[in-house]
């Protein structure tokens, strides 16, 4: 079958930022084990900046590699910047994903956005940025698109 990129395998073999955060400021969970992918992203936010991002994922190689990659992409970014990270950005950073994995396992951006949404909700803040991105079709929603 079409293989994963070197970068993808490297993240799969040595996943970054695995685990949970004590008293996280936001938690995002997307996917469903019945479909084969479940991702959880936890974030720590200080002064609007993602100071820590951790993940736990049940899923295929692509699901694990994209989760690992998004923690690297998001860490140190402002919430606004992090909301702009797309599924495509994650795939590009991994030097591409096999076509069949582009949709079903590329949920990491959604999980991050869901965690940020959770953070906003906990602070009673509006989600203008999030909703706007969603409207633009850059966020596919929180559910797995796998059918």
């Amino acid at each position: 079958m079409k293989m994963y990129s070197r970068k993808c395998m490297e993240h799969f073999r040595n996943p970054r930022n695995v685990g949970t955060i004590e008293n996280p400021d936001g938690v995002g969970r997307v996917g469903n084990p019945v479909c084969g992918d479940l991702m959880e992203i936890q974030i720590k936010v200080e002064n609007g900046i993602l100071t820590d991002v951790k993940f736990r994922t049940f899923g295929c190689g692509a699901a694990i590699a994209t989760s690992s990659m998004i923690t690297e992409l998001a860490k140190g970014k402002t919430l606004e910047e992090a909301l702009k990270i797309t599924r495509g950005d994650v795939a590009d950073a991994l030097e591409g994903l096999p076509p069949i994995k582009m949709h079903c396992s590329n949920l990491a951006a959604d999980a991050l956005h869901a965690a940020i949404k959770d953070y906003y909700e906990r602070h009673g803040k509006k989600l203008e940025e999030y909703e706007e991105r969603k409207k633009e079709g850059l966020i596919d929603g929180e559910k797995s698109t796998k059918t």
Partner: protein, 385 residues
Amino acid sequence: MDYASSSPVDPRVIEAMLPYFSEKHGNPSSVHQIGRESFEAIEDSRRKIASLINAERPDELIFTSGATESINLAIKGLAFRRLDKGKHIVTSKIEHISTMNALKFLSTKGFKITYLPVDEFGFVDPVALNDAITRETILISISYANGEVGTIQNVGEIGKIARDQGVTFHVDAVAAIGKLSIDVRKDGIDLLSFSSNDLYGPKGVGALFIRKGTKIEPIIHGGGQERGLRSGSENLPGIVGFGKAAEIAKKEMEVETSRLTELRDKLIKGILKKTENVWLNGHPTKRLPNNANFRFKFIEGESLVLRLSDFGIASATSSACTSKTLEPSHVLLAMGIPAADAQGSLLLTMGRWTQNEDVEYVIDNVPLAVDFLRKLSPLIPQGDV
């Protein structure tokens, strides 16, 4: 540990094939000397393969391009031939995709298909099968053994029902050929599909056993080779290799099957003992001698296969991620295994070159791969691996 997807060709088979690529290149339909030799070589292979399945006569075997073609020829060929009798076919929910898709095609042409359920081990209930037969039933198609979970069906009993009810019985023997002693006469089998690669022969050649008196229509028309049932110039080197592979399989099966059974049981015992939250898919003893299939809770199969590949272990899974349909295995689902658990399946299949130390290496390393992935999994509480 992935002989089920493809097997190497036995060097003895390659040696037997080599002359038929060059000096012995004759067309078996030609009357000259080298044509005659080719004809003889093909008939010699036919005899060897007939003997492997205890067919009464060698001419009950038709050479094809592989098991997929054999299955298509058996099912469609019989269906088109028996339009006068009816359009009902009985099969099981755990058949190979070749059977499933051939039947799906027929269902678009007005055929009615009954898919029998299986129990938790993957057995078809012969009583339910008997009850499913109607006056319209023309064919029963069941696998001898399931290539994924290893379950061996009660073929003799099903064959007897088919005989009593006057229904043609097709058996997909892909997973069983060369590993179990198949006897088409004793088991009441009318049509039997299998391929050469399942016997460590070359790819691209298969056979269909058609019991004398069973009539089918060809699905490939042309020059009338293989008694008009499979036109096209014969794959001479492939058929010679197939014959040699069948000869070796017959001679070595008894010793090899008991050797593999011992390795299989060691593997199953080792994996179940060294890991938590793992189950065997299929039956503990009524299973193929080379097949072990597990399901591990909290992890997904493709990532497990990838991780094992890093340890130098080739394996397979039935998780959704590795299938073209993005659905977990229809076999595991039919056995009542929840979809989320079916995602964590691991299929290990052994073969002629699997040694004891290979099994020990797998037993040592599978738990490491499982632990690695469970540490990433959000499905278990942290630290509780």
